[in-house]
């Protein structure tokens, strides 16, 4: 049976919106005949590893996720037509790891962290490749993941939405504290008038150069796995259908990187020109039921308190299912479950005690003390009353 490669859908005139997916598509198309594999446009929530690209081999029921794992799987279990003559050397491994750890943060800054690029290019691109209602959940989680990868570069000011929110909160707090504030019209410095990408241009360019200086010295010709990955990252760096193209301008504008630009354009002509990348859809995962389940699961994962636990349990379920598919018996374990259960027990107890107290409180606004007029019974009418009570057969408590 044919291998199935699950990848992100196409965007920016590239076969995929994700660098590793582009690399995996290019690698398979160069080493394996079309008959041996099938490309499927997908999203992380449709595959059990929650990571794209993912390669599924129906003959061994194995999922391999991530570019390195796919390379490894293909070299260990090659499909019949697989042919990769390039030899692997220590420097190839080092270069692969370098690309995988240093390029995603750059792409994250350019396409994901920057609010302008995100809202005008990247997000619409995701909306085009995802079926409704997934564009409401998946792009924001991809953005969050990419932002986390770029966190260590300290460039959060590109995310002007978050910055603006922070500024407004601070202003509100200082107004509330009674500080006299400068009127907004006087407060605008020239720096404020600049777009953050311009204000940070030198720093951003330096970040890009730090990485590209290493990439330009790599021997890209010698290993096809490395070549495909470098193309995946470079092609996304050179995307210029965005309003703030600092990254594309750095790659294209600097004389030293001419070789890289030439390589990326040549590779694109060689591998992708003239033939459409044939992406099919995942029928089961994109049925109405499949979409609803994927959407609801993503929503539940975002609920505070419950979401984290749900996410962990869902991961356990998926893994168990995946292993059982391969015929592996999964053992149960529950040390952390004990802690979670204890926590949940304490929380439930607290809620129970709270409800109990709440129920015992008088209704809101009710008077605290109530005097009732003594009820008029026959007993309070003295001897005559007692006599009458006896007549009517009333058992009177006053006696």
């Amino acid at each position: 049976m044919a291998l199935r490669l699950y990848v992100w859908g196409p965007a920016f005139n590239l076969p995929s919106i994700d660098a590793e997916s582009i690399a995996a598509i290019a690698y398979l198309s160069q080493t394996t005949s079309q008959a041996d594999y099938k490309l499927i446009q997908s999203s992380p929530s449709a595959v059990p590893t929650h990571q794209l690209p993912s390669l599924y081999d129906p003959s061994t029921s194995t999922w391999s996720s991530g570019y390195l794992q796919i390379l490894r799987y293909l070299s260990l279990h090659p499909p019949p037509s697989f042919h990769d003559p390039s030899a692997s050397s220590p420097s190839t491994t080092a270069n692969l790891h370098f690309l995988l750890s240093h390029c995603p943060p750059l792409i994250a800054l350019s396409l994901y962290v920057s609010s302008t690029n995100w809202s005008s290019s990247t997000r619409p691109a995701y909306s085009r490749i995802l079926p409704l209602p997934l564009p409401w959940t998946e792009p924001s989680s991809v953005r969050a993941a990419m932002t986390r990868r770029a966190e260590h570069l300290g460039m959060s000011s590109l995310d002007t939405d978050a910055e603006e929110e922070k500024r407004q909160a601070e202003e509100k707090a200082s107004n509330a504290a009674g500080w006299i504030s400068v009127p907004p019209a006087l407060r605008r410095t020239p720096r404020d008038a600049m777009v953050p990408e311009f204000a940070r241009r030198i720093k951003l360019e330096q970040l890009a150069r730090d990485v590209l200086d290493v990439v330009k010295d790599m021997e890209l010709r010698e290993n096809s796995g490395l070549r495909c990955l470098a193309f995946g990252f470079l092609s996304l760096m050179m995307v210029d259908e965005v309003p703030r193209k600092w990254l594309a301008e750095t790659v294209r504008g600097v004389e030293e990187y001419k070789g890289l630009v030439g390589f990326a354009e040549g590779f694109r002509r060689e591998v992708f020109e003239g033939q459409e990348v044939d992406l099919s859809r995942d029928e089961a995962a994109e049925s109405a039921l499949g979409l609803t389940v994927r959407f609801l699961e993503a929503v539940v994962c975002e609920v505070p308190w419950v979401g984290g636990e749900w996410r962990r349990r869902a991961a356990v379920r998926r893994k168990r299912k995946m292993l059982e598919g391969r015929g592996v018996k999964v053992r149960e374990e529950g040390e952390e479950d004990g802690l979670v259960l204890a926590g949940a027990g304490v929380a439930a107890l607290a809620v129970g005690v709270g409800i109990f107290f709440y129920r015992r409180l008088p209704p809101f606004g009710a008077s605290v003390q109530v005097w009732n007029a003594p009820s008029l019974t026959f007993g309070s009418l003295g001897a005559a009353g007692a006599m009458l009570g006896g007549v009517f057969g009333v058992v009177d408590g006053a006696y």
């Binding site: 220590p90 420097s91 491994t93 790891h97 200086d213 996410r311 356990v316 893994k319 952390e336 802690l339």
Partner: protein
């Protein structure tokens, strides 16, 4: 001008009279005032040394003898200071003591007139260059070193996975990081849970997955296979030219970083399977040979 006059409305509590019995009760406090405690005896020794102090994860006994730390990053910098013969001493510490929130950091001697600001790990290399007797090797291949430095990420991930997430090493984790912190079962359990989720989050994040997805989301086999490839690549570099990495004439920062992991894996992980076995076998023991050379160079003949 901001006016900070007296508050116009007096506090609603000002006019409130305190009930007699409560006032009497509070008048009885404090019942006894104790004298201030003396500082613990060891603080004298801890603060009055004229050697710079490197704070690392270690035990009291090991620190006295300057033995290797049991944390890979701490061990890397400790080794670098020893390789450059920078005078220093070791003090066991925790992350809470560090100004950056992470160990190691170096505290210059308090007696000197120069700056006594703590030096975080990121500036230790410059410190060693300035104060060390032996200079660091001038790297002729900086880009190469930078490229190979990313091979340490998969090794780090596999080390984290083995130590924190593999139940096989949970007793080791307890001995190194958890039991020294507290003797209460509940605190230990919580600490273990926190350390484990932090390790899982760190691995998940390097694979672009959500950090809350937990241990089961990590494909242990893949983490391990990546580390194996990285170790093979490192061994390949060592086998190209005998001696130190990248043909340097002296061991440098990269050698110290590799030693940091190699030493811990060799001393704590057995040779039957897993990381311990791979590290011993790759490149016909190239990494073990490197480990021995660094150990001699750093003056540890353990």
């Amino acid at each position: 001008m901001a006016s900070t006059g007296t508050p116009t409305s007096s506090s609603p509590w000002g006019s409130l009279q305190i009930p007699r019995p409560i006032q009497q009760l509070f008048n009885r406090f404090p019942l006894v005032t104790y004298n201030a405690n003396n500082l613990p005896a060891r603080t004298q020794a801890l603060t009055s040394s004229n050697l710079p102090t490197l704070h690392v994860f270690s035990t009291d006994e090991d620190a006295l003898e300057g033995l290797p730390s049991f944390n890979p990053t701490c061990l890397k910098w400790q080794t670098l200071l020893r390789l450059t013969k920078t005078p220093h001493r070791i003090l066991p510490s925790t992350n809470h003591a560090s100004p950056t929130g992470a160990l190691p950091f170096l505290l210059p001697p308090q007696s000197t007139s120069s700056s006594t600001k703590p030096i975080p790990a990121s500036l230790l290399s410059a410190y060693a260059t300035k104060h060390g007797a032996i200079p660091l090797p001038s790297s002729s291949s900086a880009t190469k070193e930078e490229t190979y430095l990313s091979l340490l990420t998969p090794i780090r991930n596999a080390f984290l996975y083995a130590l924190y997430l593999d139940p096989k090493y949970s007793s080791l984790l307890d001995r190194l990081y958890i039991h020294p912190s507290s003797s209460s079962t509940l605190v230990r359990k919580t600490l273990r849970y926190q350390l484990r989720s932090a390790a899982a989050a760190s691995i998940l994040q390097s694979r672009s997955l959500h950090p809350d997805s937990g241990r089961e989301q990590i494909d242990g086999e893949a983490v391990f296979a990546e580390a194996q490839e990285a170790l093979e690549a490192l061994a390949g570099v060592l086998n190209e030219r005998e001696g130190w990495f990248f043909g340097n004439e002296r061991p440098g920062e990269f050698d110290a970083a590799v030693f940091g992991y190699a030493h811990l894996i060799l001393s704590f992980m057995d040779e039957e399977k897993g990381l311990g076995r791979v590290l011993r076998e790759v490149g016909e023991g190239a990494i073990v040979g490197h480990w021995k050379r660094v150990k001699i160079e750093a003056g540890w003949d353990i």
